[in-house]
C-alpha cells in the first residue's frame, strides 16, 4: 500500500507527574483495517486516542496520522481526512442536533453543510434533528457523534468505546454501521473493552495493559497462539488413551470422566483420528476447544478489569 499508514505511533509516552498513563506505545494501523484497541478500563486507550487527535501533547515519542503529526503540524493539517471522538461525544445541549452539526460543518468547511441531512438520515436522527441535544438520550448522542464524524468524509475514523451505554439494539445498530463504513473503505480504529465487539468487527488488534502494548497483530494470529485442547470420546477409552499418548504432537493426555483430553495441533489430531479408525476404535465425539479471545485477553492483561490497572506509578 502506498503512502504513510493511517496511524503510526512510535514510542508514545504520556506522563502526569510520576504517573505513566501511556508507556512507549508502538502502533500501526494499516489502510482498510478495522483495528481493535483493547484493554481494561484505565489501561491508556483513551489517553492514546486523545494524543492521536491532538487533544493532549505526548510527553515523549510521536504519533502520525497519514504521516502528519498533530502536535508539529497542527490539527488543521494533521486531522485532514480524520474524524472521531473520545469517550462519549459531547455537543452543545442548548442547540438542536442539526445546529450542532451546522456548527461543526462550518468549523470544517461550509460545503460539509450539504451533507447534514444525509448524515442525519444515516444515523436515523432526522426526525429529532430540530430538538435540543440536551433532551437526547445517550444513544442518540452517540449516533449524532457518528454523524458529526462522517460529515468530515474521513478516511480514518477513531472511535472510543462507541457502544458503551447503548442498549442491545443500539449496540447492534452501531456495530452494523461500523461494518458498513469499513466496507466503504474507511479505516477504523476502535477502542473497546468489549471482547465480543472486537472479535465481531476487527481484523487486527492491539492489546494495551497498564499503558504498554502487550500484543499487536491479527486476531487470527492471536487465536493461533493458543494451543487447542481436544475432547475425545471413544468406544474403548483405555486403548484410545494409549494411541493418543503415543502420538507425536499430542500433550497433556489425560482421562477426565468418560472422555479423554489432550492438547494437540491440527496435524496431530488428524493422525489420532486415523489411528483410532485403523485400530477399529469408534469415535463418538471429537471436539476441539480453542481458547477464547477472552481467555487470551485475560492472560495478556493479567486478568485485570475495571480500574485496577488505572494510573500507575513510574518504576524508575
Amino acid at each position: 500500500m502506498n503512502g504513510p499508514p493511517p496511524v503510526a505511533a512510535r514510542g508514545l509516552v504520556k506522563r502526569y507527574g510520576r504517573i505513566v498513563a501511556v508507556n512507549e506505545v508502538d502502533l500501526t494501523v494499516q489502510p482498510g483495517d478495522v483495528f481493535g484497541y483493547l484493554g481494561p478500563n484505565g489501561a491508556g486507550k483513551t489517553t492514546s486516542l486523545r494524543m492521536m487527535l491532538g487533544l493532549i501533547r505526548p510527553t515523549g515519542g510521536s504519533v502520525e496520522l497519514f504521516g502528519r503529526d498533530p502536535v508539529k503540524e497542527g490539527v488543521r493539517k494533521a486531522l485532514e481526512g480524520v474524524a472521531g471522538f473520545v469517550e462519549a461525544p459531547r455537543f452543545y445541549p442548548y442547540l438542536s442536533g442539526r445546529k450542532n452539526l451546522r456548527l461543526l460543518a462550518d468549523y470544517d468547511r461550509p460545503s460539509s453543510r450539504s451533507r447534514i441531512d444525509e448524515m442525519l438520515e444515516l444515523v436515523e436522527l432526522r426526525d429529532r434533528a430540530g430538538d435540543k441535544v440536551g433532551g437526547y438520550s445517550h444513544g442518540m448522542r452517540q449516533r449524532l457523534g457518528i454523524a458529526a464524524s462522517l460529515l468530515r468524509q474521513p478516511r480514518l475514523l477513531l472511535l472510543d468505546e462507541p457502544t458503551t451505554g447503548l442498549d442491545p439494539a443500539g449496540m447492534r445498530d452501531m456495530r452494523a454501521l461500523v461494518r458498513r463504513l469499513a466496507r466503504e473503505g474507511i479505516t477504523v480504529l476502535l477502542s473497546s473493552h468489549l471482547l465480543g465487539e472486537v472479535e465481531e468487527l476487527c481484523n487486527r488488534v492491539a492489546i494495551i495493559r497498564t499503558g504498554k502494548i502487550v500484543y499487536e497483530g491479527t486476531l487470527r494470529d492471536l487465536l493461533a497462539t493458543a494451543q487447542t485442547e481436544y475432547r475425545l470420546r471413544a468406544t474403548e477409552t483405555e486403548r484410545a488413551l494409549m494411541i493418543c499418548s503415543s502420538q507425536l504432537g499430542a500433550e497433556k493426555v489425560r482421562v477426565e470422566g468418560p472422555e479423554l483430553r489432550f492438547q494437540a495441533d491440527e496435524q496431530a489430531a488428524a493422525a489420532i483420528s486415523i489411528s483410532l479408525g485403523q485400530n477399529r476404535i469408534g469415535i463418538t465425539a471429537f471436539v476441539p476447544e480453542t481458547a477464547s479471545l477472552e481467555e487470551l485477553f485475560l492472560g495478556l492483561t493479567g486478568g485485570e478489569s475495571g480500574d485496577k490497572s488505572a494510573p500507575r506509578e513510574e518504576v524508575a
Partner: protein, 268 residues
Amino acid sequence: MTAVYRWEVAKLLAQKRTYLGLVAAMLVPLIFVVVLQFQSGGPNDVPLGRYIRDTGLAVPFVALFFMSFWAFPLITSLVAGDVVASESHNGTLKTILTRSRERGQVFTGKVLAAFTYTVTVVVAMATVGLVAGGIAWGFNPLTSLSGTTVSAGHGLALLAASIAVYFLPLAGIASFALMLSTITRNSAASVVGALMWALFMQLLTVLPGVDSIRPYLLATQFEAWHGFLRVPADWDPVIRALWVCALYVGVPLAVAYVVFVRRDVTED
C-alpha cells in the same frame, strides 16, 4: 475565523445568561427614569446629573457613571467568565478542537464574541436610556461638563465616542474573566473572581496614598469619557485609557491564550 466568531455569537444568543445581562443593562436606565419621574431630587453630584431633567440625552451618561461600579463589571463577567469554562462544563472543547480550526482561531473567536457582547450591553443600555429619557424630558441640547451647551446631534456623537472609550476598561474586565475562565474551567469561580477583581480595582482608587498610581488604575479609566464632555475636549484621559487598558487587556489575554493553546484537553 468569521465562522468561528459567528458561531460563538450564536452560542451566546442561545443561552439564557446572555439575556439576563442584556435585560438587566436595559432595565437600569428605564428604572432610573421612572424613579426620577416620581421624585423631585436628582443625582446632582454625578457628571451631568444636575441636567438630567433638561434632556433625555443626559440619561445614558449618568447611567454610564452609575453602572461602572458593579453592574457592567458583573454583566461583562457573567458572559466572559463563562465563554471558555462552559465548553469545559459541557465537554465540547474536544468536539470543536478536533475539527479544522486551530486553537488560536477558536480562542480569538471567543474573545471577539465576549467583546461584542460587552459593546452590545452598553449600547443597549444607552439606547434604552435615550428613548426613555427622551420620552420623559425631551431630546434637547446637552450641557457639557464645561457648562457650554451642545446641540442634541453633537451630544449623540459625544455619547457614541464616550461608549467607545468606556468599552476599554470593560474589555479589561472581560479579558480578566476570560483568563480565569480558561485557567479555572469553572464558570462560577471566573464570574465571581472577575467581579471581585473589578471591585478591588474600584476600592484601590479611594484608598489614601495611591495618588501617583490612580491615573493608571483600571477603575479610573471608566471616567475617561469625561474628556469628551469638556469644551474643548480633553484628550489626555482618553489617550491614557487607550494604552493603560491595552495592558489590562493584553496581559490576561496573553496568559489565557498560552494556557488555551497549550493545555491538555482531558476531561473536557
